[in-house]
Symmetry: C2
Subunit: 141 residues, 2 copies
């Protein structure tokens, strides 16, 4: 199981944004340069972040993006949800309470994968942008 770069980039970009948006909006071009992420790709990502009210955009010259919430209120789970980075451990539909893979019974390890999904999502729910900013100030290894 691996994290896609869409999710990774989204978080990187938002941390970058959070550090620089104190006064002026931050342009994607700047983020692109600082973080080494393709500008075109960033635009796709920010389009989704905007749809999910995580950032606001200011168009025109001197424009850019600004956080739309307090960094403390932006959890990893919100970011990942916005860019469709989701945790999937089971193939079977969630809705069909019993029966996986067209069988009459629940697959033998169903509970395990549910547990795993919860385990991972808990991590994402407890981690906010604020946490990452602090963490980064310490530049701890």
């Amino acid at each position: 199981m691996k994290l896609t770069s869409k999710g990774r980039y989204a978080v990187m970009a938002l941390v970058d944004l959070a550090r620089f948006d104190n006064i002026n909006p931050v342009s994607l071009r700047d983020i692109s340069l600082r973080q080494g992420i393709s500008l075109d790709y960033l635009e796709q990502i920010f389009s989704k972040l905007k749809k999910n009210q995580i950032v606001k955009s200011i168009r025109g010259k001197q424009g850019g993006y600004v956080l739309n919430k307090n960094p403390n209120d932006i959890k990893l789970t919100n970011i990942f949800h916005a860019v469709d980075e989701k945790v999937k451990t089971v193939q079977c539909k969630k809705e069909s309470k019993k029966g996986c893979n067209g069988k009459a019974t629940k697959c033998i390890t169903h509970n395990l994968w549910d547990e795993l999904e919860i385990h991972i999502n808990t991590f994402f729910e407890n981690k906010s942008l604020k946490d990452l900013l602090n963490n980064n100030k310490e530049t701890r290894v």
Copy 2:
């Protein structure tokens, strides 16, 4: 981030195996039928499980596979490692202690991804086949 079916199948197959290998070796054909997994695919998976000493094989008629260890000593992490299901959250090389993506400095969210990786791996290290067997007897929902 999602679990691949190679990893999922490996665990399903081993739980199945653990339940039936008390007396005789279990054939992949049986597992295939019970779990609804392609026989050819199972063969690939068991070849790896065998290389990693998780199962033993008995060839010939009436042959099949048997666990090579106590279910309590087979952790999820062992199974996933055997079938190359690994948790990857960073693109950057582990070895290069400083510097991600060819940059001089660590990427801004590096610590986060490391934490996440540890968080997930901890789950895998603490879960054994034995746990899954018990869990399944209870048939809890």
